[in-house]
Symmetry: C2
Subunit: 319 residues, 2 copies
């Protein structure tokens, strides 16, 4: 029997679950919608079933040893997800206990962006780096920060909420209850809001004038930009400017060797990286200028958060 | 012979030098102006003379083993001060080599705010804390950040330049070449600029209408506020709002147990702490609200940076 674990990346829109060996090889993977589970227990049921389906798929040579989970506002210490702005279930969700009660194996949870940072450090572009930042651009904006070779977890275990730094006082309403948070601008949801803003401000023709706003995905916006839709192009410029300015601030605070972009909006590649890099350098504290790499996740396609969550549970069970 | 070291805190306005025992006892201290040394070598000459004067003062029972220095843009790795916006000498200043050549003892340098954080951790209010931030409000604004029990130094050694995060795009011109940096608002120099701004906007009477702007000190402004000068009171409110918002962002990123305020402007006590705390809580990411202590340095009067710089050289010479 070959020992494996499940790595889970819970996002506001989709959840990805994968079976992972001790070397970080991904044997099988499944994506399903995080939404449409009106009760958290229903979500846990779906997740448990998907893990069992994947296990059947890879066959009888494997035994599952544990489940590692990356989730928004995931608290390692509490084994729970706590008041995540981008999930529909509120309060404290004891996800580790629920998984263990269904599958009878240990489970650990951490912040989704911390999981992505662990994955990048162990298997991706940050191998050998001691100071770097992973920014996840999904439904929200998460950050996993590594300083002196260790994840910055903070006193409460909730450090790294870079998506809730403030871009504009009294700016866009955020799911956290505040206004003007970075993730209301720089995320898959944020760029969709920017499209609506630009449709109001501009009178240029755009495919988005005939599409339902809440159905827009980051992929549709990047496809439109590739087709030279002027509103889509301007939306990437606008998003990159805000993200670039905030990343310049992050560099000034952390002096990282590199910043990695990961998640749905990061898949737009140079459409988002180029303006972000340009504005980051423009607003950078001079001694850091042209020193910090801005890179796509080296695990894109594989999913750094799934691999990182898997690495976390491997470390925990220590087999 | 009792072994001692010199701890040095170089600020944009004043330099403080103290003789410190291995237990952190301060035997003697002297403050002199950092300015009016047109060449860096003249400053080093003054500093060396002041150390010798202090040694004569404490008498013949003591032997000096090394010099620890906290300075703006001090690089531990390079043993130098590099392009510090608030010092009049530019370029790379090899301060350790210069001190050693004059006094024939080892010297180390680090960022002044990092030295203050070390002092706070070893001898002050942060004893036993693993995650905290020290903000120095002097000529500029420095930050020493401790995460997981270690100073955040960064890939380049220049992490912690929180004073150069951006408050307002195209805001006040900063010594670093950028605009709108936090330290142009929240520092002894920043509140002086705020006084000028308020004198323009308001028509209320104020002592500052009859004083020379560049001669205003943080002490004069806090004395005026204590005497209910309306412009001085509003300047503290304005400064506290900006500092509070940026500290809310720092909490969101680091999840510290406490934030300590240190330096000239911090001596204003509740005049600066109260509005800063109020706005910090108002703009805080909700899960962190009412959890993070905002405190004056527990070493105020002694000088955390002098003690921290001393601790650093004690560690280095390891006697």
């Amino acid at each position: 029997m070959i020992e494996i674990v499940a790595g889970v990346d819970i996002g506001g829109t989709n959840t990805v679950v994968g079976l992972v060996t001790k070397n970080g090889d991904l044997l099988a993977e499944k994506t399903f919608s995080t939404r449409n589970h009106n009760h958290f227990n229903n979500f846990i049921n779906t997740l448990s079933q998907e893990i069992n389906t994947l296990l059947n798929q890879v066959g009888g040579d494997y035994i599952i040893m544990g489940v590692g989970i990356g989730a928004p506002n995931g608290s390692y210490g509490m084994g729970a997800i706590v008041d995540a702005p981008n999930l529909e279930w509120k309060g404290t969700l004891p996800i580790c206990k629920e998984i263990t009660s269904r599958l009878s194996i240990p489970a650990v949870v951490t912040n989704d962006a911390n999981a992505a940072a662990l994955g990048e450090m162990l298997f991706g572009g940050a191998v050998g780096m001691k100071d770097f930042i992973v920014i996840t651009l999904g439904t929200g904006l998460g950050s996993g920060i590594v300083a002196n070779g260790n994840l910055v977890i903070g006193h409460d275990g909730f450090a790294g909420e870079f998506g809730h730094t403030i871009v504009e006082i009294n700016g866009r309403a955020c799911g956290c209850g505040n206004k003007g948070c970075l993730e209301t601008y720089a995320s898959a949801t944020g760029i969709r809001r920017t499209i609506s803003m630009l449709l109001a401000q501009s009178n240029q023709p755009s495919i988005f004038r005939s599409l339902v706003p809440e159905k827009l995905s980051a992929k549709m916006i990047s496809d439109a930009a590739t087709n030279q839709d002027p509103i889509a192009l301007e939306a990437f410029e606008y998003t990159g400017r805000i993200l670039g300015i905030k990343l310049a601030e992050a560099v000034t605070i952390f002096s990282p060797e590199a910043i990695f972009l990961f998640g749905g909006l990061a898949k737009a590649g140079n459409l988002i990286i180029d303006p972000t890099k340009r504005y980051m350098e423009e607003y950078m504290f001079p001694i850091f200028r042209n020193k910090v790499k801005l890179l796509p996740s080296a695990l894109e396609g594989k999913n750094a958060a799934v691999l990182g969550a898997a690495a976390l549970i491997w470390k925990e069970i220590n087999v």
